[in-house]
Symmetry: C2
Subunit: 557 residues, 2 copies
């Protein structure tokens, strides 16, 4: 049988977050595989209450682990590397990354307690990693974290460019610029068969702006403020941290970094040589004791995370620092859709303190790390791929990107998680659908999204919970006093007595009249009791709670 | 003692939603009172899971019911009238509203089963309602629902303008235009002492746009579409419904309204004479059978509400209608912050169906119903009040609005729910803080936000739930088999056995060694058992669940 080239996204295609893309080459069903990126996404109360992290279900890849050659990490963002530590044990193959990305990958693996001896640091192109039939090069691209790389993947079926996340930034402040000439050369060297391309910003109509454009507005901003300045941004945006810190120092302020993630990121960037000339920082104690107009805090929590520095500072004293009337708080960030409420909470908290809030949603103090629509088109034109595979985006982003590609004459497919595509020919063709989904980190265990755990939590949150304990005596007679405990239910309903007492009395009536056949049958008795509880609660308070019944049968001596 | 004029917001001041403002005049502590508006707000999974509606806690007003003269409703939006039915019984005073608003108020009262004989329909100024020391006139203003009114409240201490929600729209399509000349006359007639003013759009820097400006873009849009068109907007925006329907008819399409709220609103608007010349509509069966390019659906659910028509249509067949590739879906609305995720879900569902989505966030097909910053300033200039009370806004909106007012020489206070202000003098002065808060409709009962019900639901959603049943025999000895039922917890942890069985065995160990003093003491035993459950679960799966313990003591015969 002839060999083929396959593409199979397991995460990130049909969603923004938890990227995980498989490429394979070989005889059908026996392709040798590589995995690009292994990221997480974050849950919310609506869909995943209590869940710490969400990551792709790698079941198919685990089942085919013997065919997997290696994992490649394009850059150090959580949605590209965040699941590496938690899931590496299920794959146990070498991991390739550039130096800074590798440092972050190593932290993930160490935190998860997995060995790091298979982590390999790679230099950018022209260094080549051979992985089965694939020859892979890391090509620097600009993004909102240093050392992002696109992958140039040469296969027996042709050359693939997998962009990872990128933007076209010629002056990214920290890290490498997007080098159009180098990319032109790459396309000249061998024609690009497939471009698998970031789609997150496909709906943004204007060309992206450079990180360097922020230096002057930020300096002007800092110079204009009269008291303490707090600026928040994404911890991993090392270039922004530097621009902010430089502005602070240029305005005669000392800079203090608050937030573990931010200090970790700066340390990693300094240690790997990415970040030079970062101004000396001070600790929170020193910041608290300096005149307010001599301090600039750069802090985590731009998305309203509950425990991060931004929220904590907005609620009062934090690490000895207290914001006051006349202070200034800058969001040098964009609110990710879904985080509007917690971010609004910070803004209102600050308003109560009399702190002036400067908001980025006008774009003065933030630029995106992703290629906008005209930038995507520029890349299409530069690389001239035969096939365009839009990746990293919700369905609407992939569809829009595919329509753009088709309008320009490329074969473009909307490929979502689980769709195995044959890329050998001129047009991508679906050849299989593999099981995919999500795995949750819940406390210290990994559970499947479909295990019912989260579904039950959502039900309890919406409906409340009632527990019933019933005892059946040695003679198989129910004791008359059923016991009811409720949680998350109104204490009292129409009857004007405590809800639990009312339900108990309904249950006592039921237990008095129930036939002995039902009493002997755990399942029937459970059903009967459950029905009574739900009916009584519905009548009393208009809710049907989740019910757990415990039937204890006393053993005859 | 001399008389005074007081202002006391019980809802809407420090939040957007659930408006309820009290004015009073008389001797301190004996002021005669009126209430302006009685609205609801909506909960979400983060803060109020399972809660149907949120409304202001009127405790203070209920305690002072004998001093309350009347309730005035400015307009028919849920956040101004939505709680009238549910809370009227606690106040039992006459309710004044204009005709269309009154029709909606009547529905609320009928749904709640309270008598409507104290609902009084009022004509706009010059008609005057006398309510104790207050003389109140309804002055038409433009907003995104017909017949909105500001209240002109004459008191012995001077004239108050309470704007309700408004915008400066000279051509609102349905309902009255904002009449600057009439407002000028009002300010000439007697100087305005206090302006209590809508603040929701204070951060919008550009002058608001008229509803009438949408007619041409919407007609162009409809003419450009080739297959079925679905447009969604707020059900109460009767002017928009008319503009959309007119565009559909002008383009040779039949119009079908989907969604109970929308049909109800149009019916009320037609019956009260507000809405004339609304095109004849067809039912969903007929719409399903017409050629796709001859149909325009106008539907509810612009905010991603789960059961509304937009979400249902995006998920497949709904009322016999199925969207297809090439159809067009228009959001003639704005996504209210916090609803981005469900709205995104609709957009991605539609993308999967191949339906093209047209998004309002560029503002082509939607205008706001609220006054933007320049419009607010225009109203300040027109009315020249001595005191500005920013209302209806989160803290940051009130603060910004107050700063604008102060910069123009007005006395302006940031007054949030529960602050009782004396408005008698030239500067508002806080004289009391009254208990306030939120009441939840949960199923069929009203519960206090601080009752712990919702807190418990959130805890169960985050932590899961475990129930333990333990039996103490006639000799005060615990039976060794404790029974554990879990919900919302991983089925299995580190020990590799089912979690509930593992916890049961830990509990059995505990029950074997527990001293007889503890066994005799329900509370001590409960504590001991709870500790074991939480410890064991933490070790096994890294979570500390909510625990309910049921101890059953068998009576000695």
């Amino acid at each position: 049988m002839s060999e083929r080239l396959i593409y199979l996204p397991l995460g990130g295609a049909g969603e923004i977050g938890m990227n995980a893309y498989v490429y394979g080459h070989g005889q059908p069903g026996r392709e040798r595989l590589i995995l690009v990126d292994l990221g997480v996404t974050f849950g919310d109360m609506d869909s995943a209450p209590g869940i710490d992290l969400i990551m792709p279900d790698l079941r198919w890849l685990e089942d085919n682990r013997d065919r997997l050659e290696a994992i490649f990490i394009t850059h150090g963002h959580e949605d590209h590397v965040g699941a590496l530590g938690l899931l590496w044990n299920r794959l146990r193959v070498p991991v390739y990354a550039r130096r800074f990305t590798g440092a972050l990958a190593r932290m993930k693996m160490e935190e998860a307690g997995v060995p790091t001896d298979q982590l390999r640091i790679v230099a950018p192109r022209p260094e080549v990693v051979e992985a089965g039939p694939f020859r892979v090069q890391f090509v620097p691209v600009s993004h909102s974290i240093p050392e992002s790389a696109a992958l140039l993947i040469d296969t027996p079926a042709g050359r693939i460019v997998h962009t990872g996340d990128f933007k076209l930034d010629g002056t990214p402040v920290v890290g490498e610029a997007f080098d159009a000439v180098a990319w032109h050369d790459i396309a000249q060297e061998a024609s690009i068969k497939v471009l698998a391309c970031d789609s997150t910003n496909v709906f943004s109509p204007h060309p992206g702006r450079s990180e360097a454009l922020l230096a002057n507005p930020l300096l002007d901003f800092v110079l204009a403020q009269k008291q303490m300045i707090v600026a928040t941004t994404f911890a991993s945006n090392v270039a922004r941290l530097k621009t902010l810190a430089d502005a602070g120092v240029a305005a005669g302020r000392r800079v203090c970094l608050l937030g573990r993630a931010m200090r970790k990121m700066v340390t990693a960037a300094v240690e790997t040589g990415i970040l030079r000339d970062f101004p000396a920082v001070i600790g929170p104690e020193e910041a608290a004791n300096l005149p307010r107009d001599k301090v600039m805090l750069i802090v985590t929590g731009s998305q309203g995370e509950r425990r991060a520095a931004s929220m904590q500072l907005s609620m009062g004293k934090y690490l000895g620092i207290e914001l006051k009337e006349g202070d200034s708080f800058l969001f040098s960030s964009r609110t990710i859709p879904g985080n509007e409420r917690p971010v609004g909470r910070i803004m209102n908290n600050l308003s109560r303190l009399g702190v002036d809030v400067f908001d980025p949603d006008d774009g003065m103090y933030h630029v995106s790390g992703h290629a906008n629509r005209p930038d995507l088109e520029a890349l299409h034109d530069l690389l001239k791929p035969r096939v365009l595979i839009p990746m990293h985006g919700e369905h609407m982003h992939l569809r829009e990107h595919a329509m753009i590609g088709r309008a320009k004459g490329m074969a473009a497919g909307i490929v979502t998680n689980g769709m195995m595509m044959d890329l050998t020919g001129d047009v991508p063709r679906q050849v299989d659908e593999v099981p995919t989904g999500r795995v949750y980190l819940d406390g210290t265990v990994l559970i499947g999204a479909m295990d019912g755990v989260v579904r039950d939590r959502i039900r309890m949150a919406l409906n409340g919970h009632a527990t019933v304990s019933v005892i059946i005596d040695e003679n198989d007679e129910p004791l008359p006093d059923a016991w009811v405990e409720t949680m998350g239910l109104a204490a009292q309903g129409r009857a004007g007595v405590p809800l639990a007492r009312h339900v108990e009395s309904e249950l006592a009536d039921y237990l008095e009249r129930v036939d002995s056949q039902t009493v002997l049958d755990d399942r029937k008795l459970d059903e009967g009791l459950r029905r009574i509880v739900r009916q009584a609660t519905m009548e009393e308070i208009g809710k049907r709670p989740e019910v757990r019944i415990i039937i204890s049968r006393l053993a005859a001596d």
